[in-house]
Amino acid sequence: MRLSLFKNKYPPSEITDIPELDVTPVMNMFIILIPFLVSMAIFTQLSIIDFSLPPNVGPSMNSSKTKPVPKLTVRVGDDYLGIVIGDQLLDSLPVANNIYPFNKLSKRLLFHKQDLNYNEELIIASKDNIPIKTVVRTMDLSREAGFEKIGLSSAADEAGDVE
């Protein structure tokens, strides 16, 4: 019995009249499949950032009788970025020509987290004239520095004072 593969007496390289595949059904399938996939595709990936408000801004006032523990706070202003704990200003990173020193802030946050062994909520206190994109960027850096819980607050004029 001869295999059907070898029934031609010429090798495949010498066969000039190769039958072409009919790809029309494949094209038809693509034409149906592609509009369906386009309708179900997501081109912009959305995410969320969770945050909380300070306890005295929430629906009920802070009823805890224990003395509040000073929280590490990042003050976001158009003049400088500050890292504050209680009334103590730990770092002050000046903002020059509207360029925020986010790289330095990231490094300093990592340093203070390890130095103070701080595992509590980090508060981001922003000035009124700061766009939300800058606040979101600061939240990102805080999360990347290892702060799981982030609170959002408003910064007063003086460093360390949170409204």
């Binding site: 000039t16 190769i18 072409e20 790809v23 029309t24 494949v26 094209m27 693509f30 499949l33 592609i34 996939l37 386009v38 179900m40 595709a41 997501i42 081109f43 912009t44 990936q45 959305l46 995410s47 969320i48 950032i49 969770d50 945050f51 909380s52 408000l53 801004v57 929430g58 629906p59 922003s126 000035k127 009124d128 004239n129 700061i130 766009p131 939300i132 994109k133 606040v135 979101v136 960027r137 939240m139 990102d140 999360r143 990347e144 959002l152 408003s154």
Partner: protein
Amino acid sequence: MSFLKLDEIKEQGIFRPQLTSLIDVMTILLVFLIKSFSVEGNLVSLPENMELPLSTSPKPPRQVYTLDITQEAVLAEDTRIVSLEQIGEGDSLLIEPLYEWMKREHVKLDSAGNTELLIQCDRDIMFSYIKKVMYSCSKAGFSDFCVLVIREEN
């Protein structure tokens, strides 16, 4: 692959277009579309003329009550509640129309046990507006907040 000359085509009396390159393009397109395919679809719908802030946050959105802050106004369920101009004029942190609306919504949502609030805001909105909106919503009973962002790769 055989390229027939015009004379040969005329002789044979047939014309078969070359679909191979088109199939290649379609295959690449198909792979790309399958990669970005989502069964769930978008859980949130964005209003027009709104550019969300960029973030590296990996958390996917949840279906919760949503408040939109555009460059012009604060919207809830496609209803304009208060304009940013009105918010800017007031000295108080509390926005009365928003507070009343959110209080009603909170009563409805509280029975379902989901009082989380998703804020969708334009990336250039000043924090002073966000602060007032958050304050009014928290006074109305909302305690958990999240902000919607566009995910960017690190």
